[in-house]
């Protein structure tokens, strides 16, 4: 069932860096394995073992939408997703240049810009991420989940301190 106002919540700490999300994204959308076609990409700091998946934030005030000279980018309120109308798109790549997250891509094989469409409500990156580094949840819940997570860490730390001083 499609739920309105759901977002991708990414927890880089959980990411194992396997890049399966990139693979399934490209295959789902283009029928080809090719990370440069993927809407989600994992950025890595290998010497620190840090992996950060980067994807479209579906911004409320989306710079890509604002900068588009052809009015080809709009918000689909049903899915809470920013969409490209390829009939209007002139391929100027202004949206690629302005996106602060690098979430808008340009595919040099098809000569088209592309971005995350949340797989019409069933994001494959989420479906395949067994460690749940990417979750698809109600926008309202993001903050409370992060609060719970942070609180759990605080709780664990205070327990540790208490044990040490005991």
């Amino acid at each position: 069932m499609l739920t309105k106002d759901k977002v991708l919540m990414i927890n880089p700490e959980k990411c194992t860096g396997c890049r399966l999300c990139e693979l399934v994204c490209a295959v789902k959308h283009d029928g080809a394995s090719n990370p440069s076609r993927s809407r989600i990409r994992v950025m890595k700091w290998e010497m620190d073992g840090v992996y950060i998946p980067m994807a479209c934030q579906q911004c409320q005030d989306a710079p890509c939408m604002g900068v588009c000279p052809a009015n080809a980018i709009s918000r689909n309120d049903e899915l809470n997703v920013i969409e490209i109308d390829y009939d209007k798109c002139i391929g100027c790549r202004s949206c690629v240049a302005i996106c602060p997250f690098g979430a808008m891509g340009f595919n040099s094989i098809d000569r088209k810009v592309f971005k995350c469409d949340l797989c019409d409500g069933d994001p494959q990156c989420v479906r395949f991420c067994e460690v749940e580094a990417i979750e698809y949840i109600d926008a309202d819940d993001v903050a409370i989940l992060k609060k719970q997570d942070a609180a759990a860490k605080l709780h664990a730390t205070s327990n540790k301190v208490a044990l040490k001083s005991a």
Binding site: T16, C18, N34, P35, G49, E130
Partner: protein, 646 residues
């Protein structure tokens, strides 16, 4: 399409590069990956060629499924004649290199000749460039990778590199990618070093079109669910391979003090849970990393917790590092294992081989065959942590008489050390045995004795033999895709049926190595994992090629026979202690001293062992000398090899 990935022939002496397509009939016969590599090695090397000479071809490949929508297709395979064994050299590693090479347009590289000065290859979207590497020569494995990324100004470049050990032609130097992914065994790094080839860098953005993308995606999901639901993979995903070390040591399957004991005592510090705690404390609750497209994520991340290298990041330590730097030299201390693991990663040397050789040298020191005069005063006694770490350094940089001899490999070193040093060398075909002790497990002993690349557990080990599965289950696994009418035993101490299990596993592992998939995704540690029955669908959905399970079995058998043909050409004989399918005498005349009640006192019954070899040869279609029968070669359609089709 996966099928349009090319093969490139690169001559480093002349700088010539030739690119060819891989014909469909070649694919149907050898698939890709290790299988096709074996074909290429047999066709592009001459009998008796110097492993460290320009004529030895270095072959690098991905499997046919590499970077397709199948699970865990991360594996890179490297093949050449081995400078360690003088026989087949073959190494396999995870990471992200092979997929990048496939996206750059290539499945196989055949590298011949020798560059006049250090070079590296840069492969990008169908083009191959030979670049100067003089500024990079001398760097560690990770520094090399970052230096190449900086030079090319591209952080997405993935490189396969050698470290100082490869440059110094240590005969068991490995090739590395990422922090710790190693094509470890048989000295492929030394072959690269001998060619003045420091690295192969890849960057690709070319499509690999999936033949049936919707089905491939759905089947991959099913596959992943099957793989992640296996208990063994869940444990691998939290503790990594150290969990195997802990389990094996608990019943007495870990060789200690070279081969004097079969269990490491006082090892609490390097038990899997203890290593995991260090990972947790130094990295955090999420400290497991994965190779390309793999949901097992068995690679632990850690920082060295104490000592001079405190805070240094690395990954692992695997089962092998625990054995090499903990169990074998009897130094079961976490810091020693973690630092040792870090040093071998940085210098680019096989942890398993170097650890085994250091322990061998320690026993020779104990026996008085080598003395402190030979070691320049280093106290090479068992249990000396500093000596282990110092020896890693000395061997990789070939410092001092003993280390320089060890850097040549066990058999050449035994000729330098003289006396009865060879008797203490725990090796097959010149390659040190894994630190596991197979005296209580005849099936596993047969595996290391007959593995194609020398003593090795990843070419035919029936590891599930240790699970005591009911015979009915064993017949279900080992009776497909070709029937087996003989007896199979649930007892790991038995000899009955083990030859068939080893033969079956040999074909199974060749299968995954041709596909380019990790062994954790097949019948290796988990009895419920995919094999021949499941692969035809994955192949069809991803490449459009149709095979039956039986056809895939035949291809595996054929490719294994190519490896056997290469080994025979280079001097393999049945009972030769240096180049044969034979174990060190200690397997037959020294009983296990520690471990579980059914393990204490175990050793391999030589007569029964010879019977297992007979059976194994029969299953493979070899005569009693281990040579393929003419009808076998005909049946496998390789009677006319080398055929020079590619």
């Amino acid at each position: 399409m996966a099928l349009d990935r090319k093969i490139a022939y690169i001559n480093l002496t002349t700088g010539d590069v030739e690119v060819k397509s891989i014909p469909l009939d070649v694919r149907k016969k050898f698939i890709g990956g290790r299988g096709l590599d074996a074909y290429l090695l047999l066709n592009h090397s001459k009998k008796g060629c110097d492993p460290l000479g320009p004529a030895n071809p270095l072959i690098v490949s991905g499997g046919i499924l590499t970077a397709t929508c199948a699970s865990a297709t991360a594996r890179t395979h490297i093949m050449a004649k081995s400078p360690l064994t003088g026989l087949l050299g073959s190494a396999n590693m995870g990471g992200f290199f092979a997929p990048e090479m496939a996206w750059a347009g290539f499945h196989h590289l055949v590298i011949k000749g020798k560059a006049k000065k250090p070079v590296y290859l840069f492969i990008k979207n169908g083009t191959i460039e030979i670049r100067d590497a003089e500024n990079i020569w001398g760097k560690t494995t990770t520094d090399t990778q970052w230096a190449i990324q900086d030079e090319l100004n591209d952080k997405e470049v993935k490189s396969l590199v050698i470290g100082p050990a490869g440059e110094n032609l240590v005969t068991f130097a490995n090739v590395m990618t990422g922090i710790k992914n190693a094509g470890g065994r048989s000295g492929m790094g030394a072959v690269m070093g001998s060619k003045n080839l420091k690295a192969i860098a890849c960057r690709g953005t070319m499509d690999i079109n999936i033949a049936h993308p919707v089905e491939a995606l759905e089947y991959n999901k099913r596959f992943i669910d099957q793989i992640t639901s296996a208990k063994v993979n869940k444990t691998q995903g939290t503790l990594g391979t150290p969990m195997i070390w802990g389990a094996t040591n608990s019943w007495g399957g870990v060789r200690t003090r070279n081969f004097q004991y079969n269990q490491c005592e006082y090892a609490d510090d390097i038990e899997p849970e203890a290593i995991d705690e260090i990972c947790e404390e130094t990295i955090g609750p999420y400290h497991m990393a994965g190779c390309f497209g793999c949901q097992v994520h068995c690679r632990a991340q850690y920082r060295i917790p104490s000592g001079p290298l405190k805070g240094t990041y690395d990954e692992g330590p695997e089962y092998t590092s625990q054995g090499a730097f903990g169990g074998e030299p009897d130094t079961p201390r976490a810091e020693t294992v973690l630092v040792g693991n870090h040093l071998v990663d940085q210098y680019g040397v096989d942890n398993l081989e170097i650890g085994s050789l250091i322990s061998w040298a320690m026993e020779l020191y104990e026996e008085g065959i080598i003395t402190s005069k030979d070691t320049d005063g280093l106290d090479l006694r068992f249990g000396n942590d500093e000596a282990v770490l110092e020896m890693i350094e000395r061997i990789c940089f070939r410092k001092g008489k003993v280390a320089d001899a060890l850097a040549m490999g066990g058999i050449p070193a035994s000729k330098i050390f003289g006396k009865n040093s060879f008797d203490f060398l725990i090796q097959v075909k010149g390659m040190s045995n894994l630190h596991s002790d197979e005296r209580a497990t005849p099936g596993l002993a047969l595996n290391i004795a007959t593995a194609s690349r020398g003593s090795d557990h990843l070419r035919s080990r029936p590891a599930i033999d240790l699970y005591h599965l009911p015979e009915k289950v064993l017949h279900k696994i080992y009776g497909n895709p070709v029937p087996f009418k003989g007896k199979l035993s649930s007892e790991h101490t038995e000899y009955v049926g083990k030859a068939w299990q080893v033969f079956w596993q040999e074909n199974c592992y060749m299968g995954v190595d041709c596909l380019g998939i990790c062994k954790y995704h097949t019948t290796f540690l988990g009895a419920t994992l995919p094999n021949f029955e499941d692969w035809p669908k994955v192949l069809y959905y991803n490449t459009g090629l149709k095979f039956t399970p039986k056809e895939l079995w035949n291809i595996s058998e054929r490719c294994n026979m190519l490896e056997r043909l290469f080994n025979i050409r280079e001097g393999l004989t049945r009972n030769d202690l240096e180049k044969g399918d034979m174990l060190n005498h200690r397997y037959f005349d020294e009983p296990c001293r520690r471990g579980a009640p059914d393990v204490v006192g175990s050793m391999i019954d030589k007569k029964k062992f010879i019977g297992m070899i007979d059976d194994f040869y029969e299953h493979k279609g070899l005569d009693q000398n281990g040579i393929p029968k003419p009808e076998t070669l005909k049946r496998l359609e390789i009677a006319n090899e080398p055929s020079h089709m590619l």
